[in-house]
């Protein structure tokens, strides 16, 4: 008679949580993309065997505590300033892998100058940009990436471009800069997209070794809580509406 002890053996292992994610329970809402994105980044770091050489920068926003979940050396930046920290680290330790992990408010509003100039200088680090079109941590206010007519706690009647301006497609802007080497937009709400996104993460870590410029990955993600939608409705809206404004795919790939 087989018991579970006979089955749970290394040779029978088909899937496990990467040990580069800590035991700490994630602080994210159920259904949020952050957990998946954390996992695929740490899986790539594990697969490449570069844990000792990776330093991450956490932002201010929902992922402010990213350093609690990733078992690597990390620094927590002031709101929007992650790219400045990463610039210093990549210049001082050119043989390490430096990445920032930032949300849309952090990267595309308060940190626009730092982000654009780091990418324009072609700093050799990776930016992981999570875009859910909303300020999640502070309760769902309008973000620079909030799309027209989208309801948030500060656009309760929908974003009105006359009043609030237009959504900022910062990744398209980043792709125009001479300093960027690899720019792509991914998502993680289906298994197929997770696999593609992980491939993009791997690309970024491989490309950054070449020291040819900044690598930038946008992950378009759902925010069920901030969007005030049920998980399945949120994913449906993401597919049918949000991704129309932010179409997935590569914006700049090395020749």
């Amino acid at each position: 008679m087989l018991t579970y002890k006979d089955i749970i053996k290394p040779e029978n292992l088909v899937y496990r949580r990467t040990p580069l994610l800590t035991e700490k329970t994630l602080s994210y809402c159920p259904g949020c993309g952050h957990g998946t994105i954390h996992r695929i980044i740490m899986e790539v770091v594990e697969e490449m065997g570069i844990q000792e050489d990776v330093i991450g920068i956490a932002p201010v926003g929902c992922s402010v505590l990213a350093y609690e979940f990733m078992d690597i050396d990390m620094q927590q930046a002031a709101h929007g300033r992650a790219a400045s920290l990463a610039t210093a680290l990549s210049r001082l330790m050119p043989n390490k892998y430096i990445f920032t992990y930032q949300g849309d408010g952090d990267l595309a509003a308060i940190g626009t100058a730092e982000t654009i100039h780091a990418c324009s200088r072609g700093e050799n680090f990776i930016i992981f940009f999570i875009n859910n079109g909303i300020y999640g941590m502070t309760g769902g206010q309008m973000a620079p990436t909030t799309i027209e007519n989208m309801i948030t706690s500060t656009t309760p009647y929908g974003r009105n471009s006359q009043l609030n301006g237009y959504s900022l497609n910062i990744t398209e802007l980043i792709a125009q800069l001479k300093g960027t080497f690899y720019v792509t937009r991914q998502a993680v709400h289906t298994p197929n997209l997770v696999r593609k996104a992980k491939k993009a993460v791997r690309n970024a870590f491989e490309y950054i070794k070449l020291k040819k410029g900044t690598c930038f990955i946008e992950f378009v993600s759902n925010c069920n809580t901030g969007w005030k939608k049920r998980p399945l409705d949120a994913i449906k809206w993401l597919d049918e509406v949000f991704l129309k404004e932010y179409p997935l795919g590569d914006l700049k790939v090395p020749k």
Binding site: Q51, E52, D53, V54, I55, I57, A58, V64, L65, Y67, D71, I72, D73, M74, Q75, Q76, A77, A78, R81, S84, L85, A86, T87, A88, L89, R91, L92, M93, K96, A113, E114, H117
Partner: protein, 357 residues
């Protein structure tokens, strides 16, 4: 033989950065401290020591680059002038909270606002009383000569690393722009990554398999733990007050009237002492070198034997508040100041002093 050069204060600071073994300097142009970045880009320190020099998009970015570099245990510095230092205050507060060592030079000018590009000492409150948000203090040291613009660099770095705290050299447009003879200290080596990892086990240089991951942050959402952290910072500031106080007494032994000043004002007051002594007036000078720590005890001690104090500042009166606090009504404290970039002459101060006799 030490190297002797004729330099501007800003250039002496820049050369001292290289010689102190600084790993990186990040800066943004602003008058009257542009010579720092210009000197550093001209002499190409990366060829001498490997030091990184980068002109960045804003003072905000410069201070946050210092945060990043310091978080990995590197010796980093930035410089600016008053309006730019205001922009850096956010980053300085974060560095105090995250306990990161760094050196910030303020070549101050008149304010508020864009104010003027002429020298001023109106950033005393900002430098000494916090400046940014939260319960923190900066070690602040004020040079009164071009020589000290160089000599205070290693001192400020030593304090920064000894206590894991940002430190400030509070200079002004006079000291930054004037040229004087400087005796330069010898080149100190930069630390290798291995030395940094050994000396600063907290540095985020990549998680090694022999240790837990290192985290640099100023965040703790638990109030009891955050309180403990803030109280730990206060213990550190208390130690700095105990160990790092510096001042200079000039002819205070027999003085009936004591001038209290720092930086360029102290330099002007040196002349006041000479002029007054020529006239038979027993005037001395307490020259503050560190502004935090502040010589409360020394002032209290002096207050018991003098007729009055005269505080001079190129401001409408900021440091004078701390002098009054120290003197505790034991003696009158007068104040003479000019502001907005205007500078007093020694005779102007002497006339004011005589008007109080």
């Amino acid at each position: 033989m030490k190297e002797i050069r004729l330099m501007k204060g800003n250039e002496a600071f820049a050369e001292a950065l290289i010689r102190a073994g600084t790993d990186a300097y990040f800066g943004y142009p602003i008058t009257p401290q542009n010579e720092v970045l210009e000197y550093l880009t001209e002499v190409e320190p990366h060829k001498r020591t490997g030091m990184i020099v980068l002109q960045v998009e804003s003072e905000i970015s410069a201070i946050n680059m210092c945060y990043g570099g310091a978080g990995a245990g590197f010796k980093v510095a930035t410089s600016s002038s008053s309006p730019g230092i205001s922009l850096m205050m956010e980053g300085i507060s974060y560095m105090a909270g995250a306990e990161l060592p760094a050196l910030i030079l303020n070549v101050s000018r008149g304010g508020p606002g864009l104010g003027t590009i002429q020298p001023s000492q109106s950033d005393y409150f900002q430098a000494v009383k916090g400046g940014g948000h939260g319960d923190y203090k900066l070690f602040v040291i004020a040079p009164a000569s071009v020589q000290e613009m160089a000599d205070f660099v290693p001192i400020a770095f030593d304090v920064a690393f000894k206590y894991r705290t940002p430190t400030m050299i509070l200079s002004d447009g006079i000291i930054g722009q004037m040229m004087e003879k400087v005796v330069l200290f010898d080149q100190m080596p930069r630390k290798t990554l291995e030395q940094i990892e050994k000396d600063y086990p907290w540095a985020t240089t990549g998680k090694k398999n022999y240790r837990q991951r290192n985290i640099i942050t100023s965040l703790d959402l638990d109030p009891i733990r955050q309180e403990k952290h803030v109280l730990k910072l206060q213990e550190k500031y208390k130690k700095i007050e105990e160990n790092e106080l510096r001042y200079e007494e000039i002819e205070t032994d027999d003085a009936e009237f004591i001038l209290v000043a720092y930086g360029s004002s102290a330099r002007i007051c040196l002349k006041v002492v000479k002029l007054a002594r020529k006239e038979g007036l027993k005037v001395g000078l307490l020259r503050l070198i560190t502004l935090f720590p502040f010589p409360y005890k020394k002032l209290e001690e002096l207050s018991k034997k003098v007729a009055f104090f005269l505080v001079t500042e190129l401001s409408t009166g900021q440091m004078v508040e701390d002098v009054i606090l120290a003197v505790k009504n034991n003696a009158p404290v007068y104040f003479y100041g000019r502001t907005g970039g205007a500078i007093y002459t020694p005779n102007e101060i002497l006339d004011f002093l005589k008007s109080k006799l």
